[in-house]
């Protein structure tokens, strides 16, 4: 079972890495959106520092939402999913691997580049560390929840902005706790409570979301 898991993840990561377009565009989108804000709000460092958590988090959230649109799409179109459904590998396992590999290829680059954006927005060291920690705890939740919506509409031809409309309300708790953690960090308050709540949300989603996603995928494929 564990071997299957690694093979699936490895396979997915390889496929994504060979299409640089698919993982580079969310990253560029993220950087561009963050850079738009100083241009729109003026270069005053104090204002930028104050709203930096919100900017970075909203941009990351949007970039991840964009990338999630086709997490299952190719597998369905190429018949890979049908093979998985026929094989003895449980669908939940496939979903789990897909989300993990999606997180590694699409979210990890965002997290790695976020300290750089933090520098652009004048974050100090504690704030940078908090930013990375909240992103590490929060982005898996975004991927797991987004996968549910993405699976539901996998066969819909004209998706447009349906996925963001469907999923964005569910992202609100993660957004709230992450940005509050960063605000607390800038006020030198203790942070463990925020991390504990984010971690709890992450674990809760990690347990339930793959089952819901595989149920959604079964529904979504049959249209």
């Amino acid at each position: 079972m564990f071997h299957n898991l690694l093979v699936l993840i490895h396979h997915d990561i390889l496929i994504t890495l060979r299409q640089a377009y698919s993982w580079l565009t969310p990253l560029l989108f993220f950087v561009l959106v963050v850079c738009l804000f100083p241009l729109a709000l003026g270069p005053d460092t104090e204002t930028l520092n104050k709203i930096a958590p919100g900017i970075i988090w909203v941009a990351a959230l949007l970039a991840i939402l964009m990338s999630l649109g086709n997490i299952f799409r190719n597998d369905v179109h190429e018949g890979y999913l049908d093979l998985i459904l026929l094989s003895s590998t449980p669908l939940t396992l496939l979903v789990f691997c897909k989300v993990i590999s999606h997180w590694i290829t699409h979210c990890l680059p965002l997290i790695l580049i976020s300290p750089l954006l933090g520098v652009l927005l004048n974050l100090n060291n504690t704030e940078e560390l908090t930013l990375i920690t909240t992103l590490l705890l929060g982005t898996p939740v975004l991927c797991l929840l987004g996968a549910i919506g993405s699976a539901l509409i996998v066969s819909v031809r004209t998706q447009g902005l349906l996925l963001p409309i469907l999923i964005m309300p569910l992202y609100i708790p993660v957004l709230i706790f992450s940005t509050s953690a960063m605000m607390a960090a800038s006020l030198h308050q203790p942070l463990s409570a925020y991390f504990a709540i984010l971690g709890a949300i992450a674990l809760f989603t990690l347990v339930f979301a793959p089952f819901l996603t595989s149920a959604a995928l079964r529904i979504g494929v049959n249209q």
Binding site: I153, L162, P169, P173, I176, N222
Partner: protein
């Protein structure tokens, strides 16, 4: 037992027949509650010592907010019946509820902001409860959008059901995170307007109005569901016979 229940009440045909008998009673109960609640709320209940007659909008605002929440939970119950027991009528009830629920949520927001203007001095405040009702509206929109893009009837029902369940699991988390967020940013605004426990003369009309709104939901839901049943079963024998009568 289950089979009997299914045959007797939950099959679209028998549901259509039975709901016709139910509708006049619901309409009557609604008319009684609504007329008592409206009259007592607007004329009998004393004016609030702080807000004057302005508080009377509570008789529309609170019932619509309560009903909006209740409809989302009823959608989740319908969703379970759709996914687990594959009851056709439940799926119809679920998708018909969504639009009614969205309208009640909209009504709650509008009356809330009309109430906020004289009391808080602004149309909108990022108050925890208003914000979570706004998010509820977005959840309704998401559900309606999802159902409107899926062409296949059965898939539409089941996808909607799954989405409703995911939404209802998340709703408490969202609600409490919003409350927490609000107290972090602007706690005092809320406690200034913390409700004093309500006097009985004000409370009974309010309860009557809540009952009236719930009955109104049941009434419109049944009417919409009957419509939808006819639409979905348009090719069946009994609908053809019904039309010929």
């Amino acid at each position: 037992m289950w089979h009997w229940l299914n045959q007797k009440f939950l099959a679209p045909k028998s549901f259509y027949a039975n709901s016709a008998k139910l509708i006049p009673w619901i309409a009557l109960a609604f008319a009684l509650c609504f007329s008592y609640g409206l009259f007592a709320g607007l004329f009998i209940a004393p004016a609030d010592y702080q807000q004057g007659d302005g508080f009377r909008i509570i008789y529309v605002h609170v019932p619509s907010a309560f009903t909006a929440m209740a409809i989302y939970f009823s959608m989740a119950v319908f969703a379970v019946f759709t996914l687990v027991f594959r009851v056709k009528v439940a799926a119809i009830g679920m998708s018909c509820s969504a639009k009614i629920g969205a309208w009640f949520t909209f009504l709650a927001l509008i009356t809330g902001s009309i109430w906020g203007k004289p009391m808080w001095g602004t149309w909108w405040i990022w108050d925890a409860r208003l914000t979570s009702v706004l998010i509820l509206l977005f959840l309704y929109f998401g559900f309606i959008a999802l159902q409107s893009v899926i062409p296949n009837q059965q898939t539409r029902d089941r996808a909607g059901a799954l989405m409703a369940i995911v939404g209802v699991i998340n709703l408490p988390i969202i609600h409490y995170s919003v409350i927490w967020w609000n107290t972090l940013h602007q706690g005092p605004t809320l406690s200034k307007f913390a409700k004093p426990s309500i006097a009985p003369a004000m409370l009974y009309p309010l309860l009557a109005m809540i009952a009236a709104f719930l009955l109104f939901y049941a009434l419109t839901l049944l009417l919409r569901m009957r419509n939808q049943i006819l639409l979905r079963e348009i090719n069946s024998q009994w609908v053809a016979e019904l039309i010929h009568e």
